[in-house]
Every structure is written in C-alpha cells, then in structure tokens.
C-alpha cells in the first residue's frame, strides 16, 4: 500500500478544506479503483450534491486526463477536476 495524494479544485475545495485527499491504495491500482476508494472513503460523508459533483469529475496528471483503466502514475501529482468554467 502507498498513500496517494489527490489535489482537488473548484467546488470540490468546499468538501476538502485542505485541498488534498489522502487515500491508501495497493501498488498498480487503476484510476477507477482510486475513484471507488474516494467514493467509499472520504466522500461517503459528503452531501448528495457533492457526491454528484465527484461523479462528474475526472482525474488528471500534470500533462493529461487519466482514463479510468489507466494505472495510477507513481510519485506525481494527481488532480481531481470538477466540470470546468474558464474564460
């Protein structure tokens, strides 16, 4: 197991005061497994609207979005991105 640090942004900051989730995951876990671990862990106590926001959010590295079937990158930043509204 290792601790995966997930930075959150936008409205998800209202759910995670520190701006970062820490989730223990087995080695070679997928992005989908990380989502399930967050849904069943810290997000289980969130409001239903916050849980819906989580379902509408995607995971990303510093360079690209991460497909659910991808293995979690080691060591780098993982970001959890709610729907975007730039410009």
């Amino acid at each position: 197991m290792s601790t995966v640090r997930v930075q959150v942004f936008g409205a998800l900051r209202d759910c995670v005061a520190s701006g970062e989730l820490r989730v223990d995951m087995p080695a070679l876990s997928t992005v989908h497994a990380l989502r399930e671990a967050i849904e069943n862990g810290p997000a289980a106590a969130w409001s239903s609207s916050a849980q819906a926001l989580l379902r509408a959010s995607v995971f990303a590295s510093e360079s690209s979005l991460l497909h659910p079937s991808a293995v979690l990158p080691e060591g780098g930043v993982i970001a959890l991105l709610p729907p975007v509204s730039g410009g």
Binding site: Q7, D14, P68, S85
Partner: protein, 162 residues
C-alpha cells in the same frame, strides 16, 4: 520568425503576484514582420451573470495541466491553419473585480482569415477544456462556483454538475 524561437507564449498569471493581464504583452508576443494579421480575444469580468449582480470573481486553476491544454490548443491551430502562425494565451488566476481582464488569446498569421478562425478555435478550447474554475461573488455577500463543462466524458456514470 526565427527557427529557434517558440511560436507560442502561454501563461498562467497570478494577478496578486504578477499584476493584471496586459494586451500589449499579447501583441508583442505574436508580432512578426511576416504576419499581417493579428486577432485578439479579450475576456473580461462582467457585472451580471444569470440575473445576479457580480462584484468579483475568484479563478482557481491546475496550472501545469492548464499550460498543457493551452499548448495543445495552439498546436492544433497550427496544424489546422498552417505553420505560419504565432499564438499567445494568458489566463488570470486569483481574485478579479468587474472589468478586469480574465483571459487574452492572440493569434498572428500572414492574413486575417486564419487569424480570426484560429483565435476562435483556441479560445473555445480554453473555455471548454482547460482546468479552470470560476467562483462568483455577489453583491449580497454570497458566492458560488459556476456550473461548467465536464471534461473528457470517459467516466462511466458521469452526470452534470449539481
């Protein structure tokens, strides 16, 4: 344009640290003696949204991926509209008030048609794909994160933002 110089200038500007976005920076960045057309899009903070009076905004960003998205948008424009193209993208981060500049996209090409079309293409990518979030502050003292576009859509069971 010299061969060693990048045709793209891409910025995330923390307005508290670096000051406001400047249109002149965009014009300087894309200027090229071979290019006769420059199109500039400027996005500013407006005073109303969905019937509510807005006093200011806070922009949250995931900087490294935002820059990567800007780069992909600029590269795609170059692929689509030709290699003779320079592009500047800058987006503000932090607290802005009504009238402040939130985003600038500038594109220079030899002629106007490609500049107009490429500039439009790049700002659409910035609006829909860059990891940027807007929290509006209202005159009654409340605030709200604005609804946005879900990224990617590859996630099973994804739903619209609440």
């Amino acid at each position: 344009m010299s061969a060693h110089e990048s045709p793209f200038v891409l910025r995330v500007v923390d307005v508290a640290m670096q000051g406001p976005l400047e249109v002149q920076h965009a014009l300087d960045a894309v200027a090229d003696a071979a290019f006769g057309g420059i199109d500039v899009f400027i996005g500013r903070v407006r005073a109303h949204n969905h019937g509510r009076v807005v006093t200011g905004l806070h922009y949250d960003m995931f900087d490294p991926l935002a820059i990567a998205v800007f780069a992909r948008a600029a590269s795609k424009a170059r692929t689509e509209f030709g290699p003779a193209l320079r592009c500047y993208v800058a987006h503000a981060k932090g607290h802005l008030v009504v009238g402040d500049t939130a985003v600038i996209v500038a594109v220079a090409t030899p002629h106007r048609d490609e500049a107009f079309r490429a500039c439009r293409a790049v700002i659409e990518v910035v609006k829909h794909e860059a990891p940027i979030w807007k929290q509006e502050h209202y005159i009654d003292g409340s605030s709200a994160w604005t609804e946005g576009c879900s990224l990617c859509g590859s996630e099973p069971g994804a739903v619209a933002a609440p």
